[in-house]
Amino acid sequence: MKHRTFFWFFLPTGLAMLLFIALPIVSVVIQSVYAPHEAVLKTVENCTPLVGCTTETTIDQDATRDIREAQPLGRFVGLDIYLDRGHLAVTEVGEAWAASASMGGFIDRLFNLPLYRALAFTLTFTFIVTPLLIVFGLMIALAVNSLHSRLKGLMIFFSLLPMIVTPLIGSLILFWMVDSRGVIGSALVALAGDPDFSMKASTGLTWIMLIVYGVWHSAPFAFVVFYAGLQTLPQDQIEAAQIDGATRWQQIKYVVVPHLMPLVTFVALIQLMDNFRVFEPVVGFNASAHATSLSWIIFNDLGGETRQLSAASATSVLTIIGVAILLSPVLVRTWRDFKGK
């Protein structure tokens, strides 16, 4: 295809991505180094006869509005926002390092800082949910594959539901059941033998709840991909393994899993990216007291009456850097594939 033809074919989609993905990234980066203007103060001296003169400092509304309109971006502050308490908190981390005797104490202090707390949950969620959902998805795929063919279709239908359903809605549905008055919640209360038992009460339980949701939501994806992979499993290799006396477990370990390995990599990479953006469950489970994620911090800064664009932008840039680090193995792999062609 000629360059010219390619250009016209690609123009609409390229323009859409340039205007609404590439430019916003630039805009986010710029906003993250600007802070909102501070209010302009003016000092007025009021002199009344007999009483004397008092000076009073007030906000000059007109001047403040003028400067805000003249420079809507705000004032340039460099990397200050990145380093403040809400983000990388360099000073606070330094103090915590100096003040705490042990590593545990340091980590405790670190988790009082919003960004590190969110980062801890986001990374824990990502790196626990992803392997769990792969193992669980593989187990479902192996089990469903051995079923009668009519049942297979039915199982695939119901298995797709947790994945297809809107994440916020899915987490709400589970949240209402896990609520201490819901059906699973009251069962847990009965099991724990403690009438005040609640999954929302402690950080650990909240994290477990969110991780269970994460596996429930994403395991169907792994299942569907692995199930499709199992359909292309070469039967002669299985038969050869059987003739060699391999047990069922050995067949899975040495024939099935290696056959599915490229798919495992694929699922792992996709799910790492998707779990890193965990956000809706935190809202749905109303869990922000115990678990916040990077995306949730951005959302929280942007919402409400005061839209803290600069703070949200700085967190966005840090999140994008995190995604880039996670994505680097994929990029390297794609590059190798491309070179190999």
Binding site: G14, I21, P24, Q31, V144, L161, W176, A324, L327
Partner: protein
């Protein structure tokens, strides 16, 4: 047909069936439970006294003389005007799917037919864009949208969702078009067609399976989005998902939670129907990316 050597021993078979059954309950039960409970009053749905109330509907009987009531649906759809959000959602989804398929098809076709190096870099850029959480872009939209006075309306959100959709659409359609033999449109070009005519008359008639699959995923992305729609739509233009989140924001007074439950069930129903009719396309779409790597 499974050979005798492959037939499972009884214990393993029971274990397998047990596991499948447990997964079936895990996957399906929450939906049935919430659907069943949406026809009850809140005191039954969150059974404080006895969990069997949720099944029998004791309090619902006391309040409405019947074990089932549509009060929650009436409250959500009529009192809270959820139908407006439903209409908004379908407007957004319709235009997002149409627009992103139109421009995505052209782009994906071009990427699959050009052998220059820049197609690789464009695909890599799209992959990076696909990996970024959409919420990270929202901070970049707000200031310009406020300045131009286009914040809060549906068209802005539609365009943004189309753009966010493009990377995925391009990858999917690119790999799909690569499976359509190049000889088809090349022979059309030999016969004197321009590239666009070749696309229009030769490729378009055979591309529908891939386009429908991609369209399903575009629809799901637009339908399921919360971060972008919650941030970019004003209160009167909300789609379903941010509206449900707003139901929760209002105090948990009696009845209000049931409005949210009814709204959740209403929003799940179209997805249920979608999976029922397009199960095969969804499965093939999920695996297409995997097989292609």
């Amino acid at each position: 047909m499974a050979s005798k050597a492959q037939r499972m021993p009884l214990g393993l078979r029971i274990l397998t069936y047990g596991f499948v059954f447990v997964w079936f309950i895990l996957a399906a039960f929450p939906f049935f439970w919430t659907f069943w409970g949406s026809f009850k009053v809140e005191l039954d749905f969150f059974s404080i006294a006895d969990w069997t109330n949720a099944l029998t509907g004791e309090r619902t009987k006391a309040a409405y003389d019947s074990a089932f009531t549509g009060a929650a649906y009436h409250g959500a759809w009529v009192q809270e005007e959820f139908w407006r959000n439903v209409i908004n959602t379908f407007i957004v989804c319709f235009f997002v799917v149409c627009t992103s398929l139109t421009i995505g098809t052209l782009g994906g076709y071009a990427l699959s037919r050009s052998s220059f190096r820049y197609t690789f870099w464009l695909l890599i850029t799209a992959l990076i864009f696909r990996a970024m959480p959409p919420i990270t872009l929202v901070a970049g939209y707000l200031l310009p949208f406020f300045e131009w006075n286009v914040w809060g309306i549906l068209p802005t959100t539609i365009i943004v969702l189309v753009a966010i959709n493009q990377p995925f659409t391009l990858w999917m359609l690119h790999s799909f078009f690569q499976n359509i033999p190049k000889e088809l449109d090349e022979s059309a070009k030999v016969d004197g067609c321009t590239q666009f005519q070749a696309f229009r008359h030769v490729i378009v008639p055979v591309m529908w399976p891939g386009v429908i699959t991609t369209g399903l995923f575009s629809f799901l992305l637009a339908y399921n989005d919360f971060a972008v729609t919650a941030m970019l739509l004003s209160e009167s233009n909300r789609t379903m998902v941010p509206a449900i989140a707003a139901f929760l924001g209002t105090t948990y007074t009696e009845g209000n939670v049931m409005f949210a439950v009814a709204a959740v069930v209403s929003a799940t129903a179209p997805l249920f129907i979608l999976v029922m009719f397009f199960q095969r396309q969804i499965v093939s779409g999920l695996t297409a990316g995997a097989v292609k790597g």
